[in-house]
Amino acid sequence: MKAADQHNETKKQIPAKAKKQDEVVIHAKGLKKGFVDKEVLRDITFDLKRGENMVILGKSGQGKSVTIQCIVGMLKPNAGELTVFGEKVAELNDEELKQLRIKIGFLFQSGALYDSMTVRENLEFPLTRVLKLNDQQEIDKRVEEVLDGVGLLDAIDKLPSDLSGGMRKRVGLARTMIVKPEIMLYDEPTTGLDPITSREISELILHLQEKYKTSSVIITHDMECARITADRVLVMDNGEFIAEGSFKELQKSDNKIVRSFFNQEI
């Protein structure tokens, strides 16, 4: 059985009270963000619950990446309320923001691997610099475990330049997961990959989410990725959400923009 199907099965089996999913880990209300000549986020409101996979769908340039950059404190919203684990991100000082970021994993579109380091060094970096681990045995164990989890133990001593696009994404995912974050933010995790590798990455996201019990925000315009990973889908257009629901619910939507996404999937 494929991981995606298993996930759907699991979702049906878990009783509501067994889930700790009512706890809101990210809360955004009336979020606005503009740059010099353009207003990117107009009015963003959403809650992400613990253990939930939330997919944000939308065309390029609609503000999806800006939304998750605000969550992680890379950008400051111009207006609105944004809390992560109850803390107002915009009001945190450097040290508080650093502590918050340890709980949030961010997978960049390109993987953003440190290209002067081997895969092993890439994975050791957050362990030694963020978690401040000194025990080399413990470090090796965690590196090998997480690499094994993404099926790339053989590539441990390779440089990023020796890896394919899909492998880079997997290593990027492993590097993010190694610190066991509570929230994962994925910026177009399947962009630039072939359909088979895209599906593998989507299933890997799901597998890791179940293994590490993370809450995730997944930004994508890959419908297959959304179908596999999403508990809930939000559709963004022109800096605001225009539709919300499960993948199946949105498939039946009358909204023209929402339909244009689903019509791609034959």
Binding site: V72, G73, M74, K98, Q99, R101, I102, I104, F106, F108, Q109, S110, A112, L113, Y114, D115, F125, P126, R129, V130, R175, T176, V179
Partner: protein, 258 residues
């Protein structure tokens, strides 16, 4: 026209402000958290060892050329015996440090600017930042410290090699032994020649590292920005070297020669 000028000046002022903020963040990061020793050693190797050949060859040629150029004038004045002294003083006080720093600005500042610029473009710096690591400590503090230490070392090595180049040129025309040549060179130098020269190369090294890091760290996203960052790092670092040199000469002159 006036609007363009105002925009230009405003951008310039913003740039100065950004540099001041970066400078203060750099200093804050020296004293907070742990020092990245392994990266610092790697940078010392990259910056120092890998630039040695270039600095050595340039300094050797510089010493050789200076003797060839100086000789006719000094012979005409009947002061041929002053050649080792003239070379030593000019090379150690001014030409050695400045030439080494300019070469390092071309090689190191551009390389740091391009490397950090490329890391910025490929989101590696952002990845470090959002992971909770400190990119400033890992990338900037180590590189600035490495250049501040390695540029003076390179300048000292360059000076010695330059003096050897001078000896070779002098030995072709005048029969002078190596020991006599170096005795003459060293006896003509004193503390006031060596110390200011070494101290100013520390500042040259700092400027090279800091400008390279600043330009790379603040490059825009896009491949073109990497080239711009590298180019701008060389130009700005070279300019700073001459500014620092002018200040250093004034201070040295006030402290030692008056």
């Amino acid at each position: 026209m006036a609007e363009q000028a105002i925009t230009g000046w405003r951008k310039w002022a913003e740039g100065i402000g950004e540099q001041c903020i970066f400078f203060s963040r750099f200093f804050r990061n020296i004293f907070t958290g742990g020092f990245e020793w392994s990266e610092f050693v790697r940078q010392c190797y990259e910056i120092g060892y890998r630039s040695m050949m270039l600095v050595g060859i340039t300094s050797f040629i510089m010493g050789l050329v200076l003797i060839v150029q100086l000789r006719p004038s000094l012979v005409e004045l009947g002061a041929a015996s002053m050649l080792p002294k003239t070379l030593a003083v000019s090379l150690i006080r001014e030409i050695g440090p400045v030439i080494t720093a300019i070469i390092c600005a071309g090689k190191i500042a551009s390389s740091i600017g391009a490397e950090l610029g490329s890391m910025k473009v490929t989101e590696q710096i952002d990845a470090m930042e959002v992971s909770g690591a400190n990119p400033l400590q890992y990338l900037v503090v180590t590189r600035v410290f490495a250049t501040s230490i390695m540029v003076p070392l390179l300048a000292i090595i360059g000076d010695v090699i330059g003096l050897f180049g001078g000896f070779l040129a002098l030995n072709i025309t005048d029969n002078i032994s190596l020991s006599l040549y170096f005795t003459k060179c060293i006896s003509s130098l004193d503390f006031s020649d060596l110390l200011p020269a070494v101290v100013k190369t520390v500042f040259f090294g700092f400027a090279i590292g800091f400008v390279g890091c600043y330009k790379g760290y603040h490059s825009n996203k896009g491949t073109e920005s990497v080239g711009i960052a590298a180019n701008s790092a060389v130009v700005t670092a070279s300019l700073w070297i001459f500014v620092i040199d002018a200040i250093a000469v004034q201070i040295t002159s006030l402290l030692f020669y008056h």
